[in-house]
């Protein structure tokens, strides 16, 4: 196997210099949990790396009116320890399943999103909460909905010279019940074979409103809005959910890879819906 590296790493003194470096062809580096592995394995050969992991603008977690602003270089562990999971408990469910402690201490939310893996764990809450991605580049700032930002496996709407600065995560109305189920063979350090996240607004056991996000079953994380719509008004019961399993399966466009065959993802995705019944027990 061809190895690449050693690779030069530059440390910009501020955001402006970081953008200038990136414009010159440098690739952003934050936690390095993915970048270094890919470089070492020879899958990636960047001209040089721009270390953005300590830029103050990218490091803040701020709770504001109506939402949270989370810097792109905030690590998963920092986010887990912040105020955010208390206001948005779906983040706790997801981040506790992400990698293992060492990965969580180094890896960042911006890196996870920029990788644009359909199995990226942090994408699930960002899709569910309809987060926006704040970007800055040579032409100034702009902001995109997460679903507009992620285009496909490894593909994003980032333009040349642009960096992710932060995420704006709006607080949802009311107090939705969070749900997350990540399927994999192991209990730690695993990439999801598939995953399902949900937010449910319940009245008794009736679903008033709900959002679903499926991971690792399509080129991007999927919000099956038709299934969401059909779930409104249904009870949290086996009889009410079971008929929609097949529809949820149909919302996937899985591939076969080393972690599992397509039919399994399709089939299991539908069945994951029944997992919501556990919320009734709780």
């Amino acid at each position: 196997m061809k190895k690449t590296g050693p690779v030069e790493i530059v440390k910009p003194k501020d955001l402006g210099e970081a953008i200038a470096f990136v414009r010159k062809g440098g690739m952003p580096l934050a936690g390095g949990t993915d970048a270094f592995v890919r470089i070492r394995k020879g899958f990636w050969d960047p001209p040089f790396l721009v270390y953005i992991g300590e830029l103050p603008e990218l490091r803040e977690v701020e709770i504001r009116e109506g939402g949270a602003e989370v810097g792109a270089a905030v690590t998963h562990a920092e986010l887990l320890r912040s105020e955010v999971p208390r206001r948005l408990p779906i983040f706790r469910l997801v981040l506790e399943k992400l990698g293992a402690p060492a990965i969580r201490e180094m890896g960042t939310i911006g890196g996870n999103v920029a990788n644009a893996s359909p199995a990226g764990d942090t994408l699930i809450p960002l899709y569910l909460l309809e987060a926006r991605v704040n970007l800055v580049g040579p032409d100034g700032e702009r902001s995109l909905a997460i679903e507009e930002f992620v285009l496909g496996p490894g593909k994003t709407a980032l333009r040349e010279g642009e960096l992710i600065v932060s995420f704006w995560i709006p607080f949802p109305e009311g107090d939705p019940v969070p749900y997350f189920h990540k399927v994999g063979r192991r209990r730690a350090l695993y990439i999801a074979v598939l995953s399902l996240g949900a937010l449910l607004w319940l009245e008794g056991d009736v679903i008033r409103e709900m959002r679903l996000a499926l991971g690792a079953v399509a080129p991007t994380v999927v919000r099956p809005r038709e299934v969401e719509a059909k779930l409104r008004g249904r009870r949290l019961s086996h009889e009410d959910l079971e008929p929609l399993c097949a529809e949820l399966s149909a919302a996937t466009s899985s591939i076969t890879d080393i972690r599992g065959p397509d039919w399994y993802r399709r089939e299991a995705a539908g069945r994951l819906l029944l997992g919501l019944l556990r919320l009734r027990e709780a």
């Binding site: 399927v183 209990r187 730690a188 039919w263 399994y264 027990e281």
Partner: protein, 768 residues
């Protein structure tokens, strides 16, 4: 017992945990260069032309070896005793490549980067040959012949790709099944799995000041390395010295000579120290694996549950070379069939076949692991068909102390075996104790649900051996210092198992001193006596037997000197707490005085004793395994909730270390059962040669494991001991398979039990 049977701390523990430079590559000789191997991109091809001129021009490249410039001597890479039971079908470098990753050439260069660049500059023209990746096709008509070279020796049927074959009959199998009231037949499949030792294969080879070849290697078999490298390179054995430092795990893969021969050849050619190390990817592709197998098993039983006839039909895939092909195949039967010795009618037959896939070899369990998966799943099915509790069926049929099996005599190490009566067996107590701890009576057949998780319990039995009868020999030397301390020199190969510690305990017990009074050194072919090596569950029993004898002899000599000092007959003296003590008068003399007198004062001599021990038989350890699993019926994910192993390893010399062996083997077995499998592309390339895609259990995946040692007293073992290193790995696959059946009523016959396999089994064949 003062020292034996106690949880003495590992003698090398402090050095290991404080990071002392104790491993093979921790110290590099000055002027060392790096060796690297060019590997085949094709599963089966002839090397038409190899041009190394561009690579040789690269500054820093010292030497390139390939089939055109090395001796062509057939040998086996299997580090086994003599006569070597594996075929001589390997060459240092060959004109042909037989799997993706096979050796093509090797480079020595002044840096790793230059060596890598040199590998890229070697031009090789291949003529691709049809490859065969499926064992059934390899022995079918028209299959390409993988070993068509003239020089190979000992291949059973090279024209049909059969490396080894076996056919053993006891009684009349046809009659056996006709006389049986109930017959079950099932086929189980074991895939390619890898050892994944923390430390990959690595070696340093250099010429010493007298021009002798020194090989410091992460090996389980230093003496076999010396013999095999001598053969492969045509160097006199007397000119080779092999040093085994601390080892970072082996599990059988380091019973193979796969790097020492190349490093030695490069060192001889360049006259520079050569350092070589497998990358993790090479470890997956070009080290060794367990033999993948398909085992068809048929059991016949009487209505009362007496097992009456057993047929086992094995198709073993040895990959591109036949290392351990015959002996692993033999062990599938020889280590399993004696367990159910009530059956008078047995037929054990099978083949180990070549394919153009990575090379299988020795792996902890050594065929027994594959055999027990099939046997113990079949026994579970038999119990169901008989309407019997599988625990009772096993109790009714398993071997007891004082009993024998014709298999002991029929199957040996690549030849006939030797009759043997089991002298110690606490299996019945193991079964009862394990059943109690898992809650068998309360749980079996009464699956419970917790939401989507359905729980079930399953069990399996196993036996193994302790060394290889009449073949495994170990020697040990005990040297007394003048201060009353000792040096223990053993060829036995501690590879992380703790064998240095238990051997010190055996010596200390015999010499009446604390373990701290014994310095253990293992192993160095120049300075320690011979030992076949760390494999076949032999160290405690065989090497321990040698240490016991050497210590007894040293003791006799010490007592002679002490008797002269005390003026009493040696027969009246004991060794206790560092003293020779008279039983009659209570008079005593410290060993320091004995040592000093012997060395400097009167009738001077150095108190040294060397003794050998050859396994007179192979007393089996026994174990009963119980698993409780939870199956997620929505996703097919299986979790082991609790795993209980009750084992009889004779009298454990160091219970904590014995339990550690059992626990480690169980975790490795759970890895096989739920996670691990090498995957191949249609052209035979390994698709997951890394720990990202080939998953082994993490600490978070280790379930609640409860191990309990039920002692028995083995009269032929040192202080009653038998082995414990391998047996634990035989339990998880069948126990978990049977537990899954108990939970969801579906049988799974192919490991690993991945979520998709479980889901497919649960919801029928409509999927996928």
């Amino acid at each position: 017992m003062k020292v034996v049977g106690k949880n003495v701390r590992k003698v090398d523990g402090i050095a290991l945990v404080t990071g002392q430079p104790v491993f093979t590559l921790d110290v590099t000789p000055p002027g060392a260069v790096v060796g690297k191997i060019l590997r085949s991109p094709h599963a089966h091809a002839e090397i038409v032309r190899i041009d190394t001129s561009k690579a040789e021009e690269l500054p820093g490249v010292l030497c390139i070896l390939h089939h055109g410039n090395v001796p062509r001597t057939p040998y086996t890479t299997a580090g086994q005793g003599w006569p070597e039971p594996s075929p001589y079908d390997s060459f240092l470098f060959d004109r042909k490549v037989r799997f993706v990753g096979d050796r093509v050439a090797a480079v020595a260069a002044t840096s790793e980067e230059i060596a890598d660049e040199a590998l890229r500059l070697i031009e090789v023209e291949y003529r691709q040959l049809p490859a065969v990746l499926v064992p059934e096709e390899a022995i079918g008509p028209g299959a390409p012949v993988i070993h068509d070279e003239e020089e190979s020796r000992g291949i059973h049927d090279p024209q049909h790709n059969v490396a080894a074959a076996i056919d053993i009959r006891v009684g009349d199998i046809e009659r056996g099944f006709t006389e049986s009231d109930v017959v079950v037949e099932t086929t189980c499949e074991f895939p390619y799995v890898q050892h994944v030792p923390l430390e990959s294969h690595c070696v340093v080879a250099y010429l010493d000041e007298e021009d002798r070849l020194v090989i410091r290697s992460a090996t389980q078999v230093p003496f076999h390395v010396r013999r095999i490298v001598a053969r492969a390179l045509g160097v006199p054995l007397s000119r080779i010295r092999v040093i085994k430092p601390r080892i970072g795990g082996g599990f059988g893969t380091k019973q193979e000579i796969i790097l020492e021969d190349v490093a030695a050849a490069l060192a001889l050619r360049t006259r520079r120290p050569v350092v070589m190390k497998y990358s993790r990817a090479e470890e997956f592709v070009a080290a060794r694996t367990r033999h993948p197998m398909k085992i068809r098993i048929k059991l016949g039983a009487k209505r009362d549950g007496t097992i009456h006839a057993i047929e086992m039909d094995v198709l073993s895939n040895t990959g591109a070379y036949g290392t351990h092909s015959l002996t692993v195949l033999s062990n599938v039967g020889s280590k399993t069939l004696p367990l159910y010795n009530k059956a008078p009618h047995l037929w054990f037959h099978g083949k180990a076949v070549y394919t153009n896939l990575p090379v299988a070899g020795a792996y902890r369990g050594y065929g027994a692991t594959q055999g027990y998966f099939a046997l113990e799943v079949a026994v579970d099915e038999l119990a169901e068909k008989l309407g019997m509790d599988p625990l009772k069926l096993r109790l009714a049929n398993h071997i007891r102390a004082g009993e024998t099996s014709p298999i002991f005599e029929k199957i040996g190490e690549g030849r006939a075996g030797k009759a043997q009566v089991v002298k110690s067996c606490a299996l019945e107590e193991c079964i009862r104790e394990g059943a109690k701890r898992i809650g068998w009576k309360e749980k079996h057949g009464k699956k419970t649900s917790e939401g989507r998780w359905v729980h079930g319990v399953g069990m399996a039995l196993s036996m193994q051996g302790s060394g290889i009868t009449d073949i495994d020999m170990a020697a040990a030397t005990i040297v007394m210092n003048e201060d009353g301390s000792f040096r223990l020199l053993v060829g036995a190969t501690d590879l992380g198992t703790g064998s240095d510690t238990i051997l010190a305990q055996i010596a200390a017990e015999t010499l009446g001193v604390a373990v701290e009074a014994i310095s253990v050194y293992s192993s160095d072919t120049d300075f320690t006596p011979f030992d076949t090596g760390a494999y076949a569950s032999s160290t405690t029993y065989v090497s321990g037997g040698a240490v016991l004898r050497a210590a007894q002899e040293a003791r006799r000599r010490i007592l002679e000197v002490a008797a002269a000092i005390l003026g009493e007959p040696p027969e009246s003296l004991d060794l206790e707490e560092g003293h020779a003590v008279s039983r009659g008068t209570g008079k005593k003399v410290p060993l320091s005085e004995v040592g000093h007198r012997a060395m400097y004062v009167t009738d001077q001599r150095h108190i040294i004793a060397t003794a050998s021990f050859v396994a007179p038989e192979s007393p089996p350890p026994f174990a009963a395994f119980f698993a409780e699993v939870a199956v997620d019926v929505e996703t097919g994910v299986v979790r082991v909730v609790k795993f209980v192993a009750a084992a009889d390893c004779g009298m454990p010399i160091n219970p904590a270390l014995a339990e550690g062996q059992l626990e480690g083997a169980i975790v490795q077995g759970i890895g096989h059962t739920l996670y691990e499998e090498l995957l191949f592309s249609p052209r035979g390339r390994v698709r997951n040669p890394n720990l990202f895609d080939y998953r082994i259990p993490t600490a978070a995946d280790v379930p609640d494991i409860e191990v309990v040692l039920i002692p028995s007293d083995e009269p032929t073992g040192p202080y009653g001991a038998k082995s414990i290193g391998e047996i634990g790995i035989n339990g998880p696959a069948p126990a978990i398979a049977n537990a899954i059946y108990d939970a969801i009523g579906v049988r799974l016959y192919r490991i690993p039990f991945t979520p998709e396999r479980v889901l497919k089994a649960l919801h029928g064949k409509s999927m996928g």
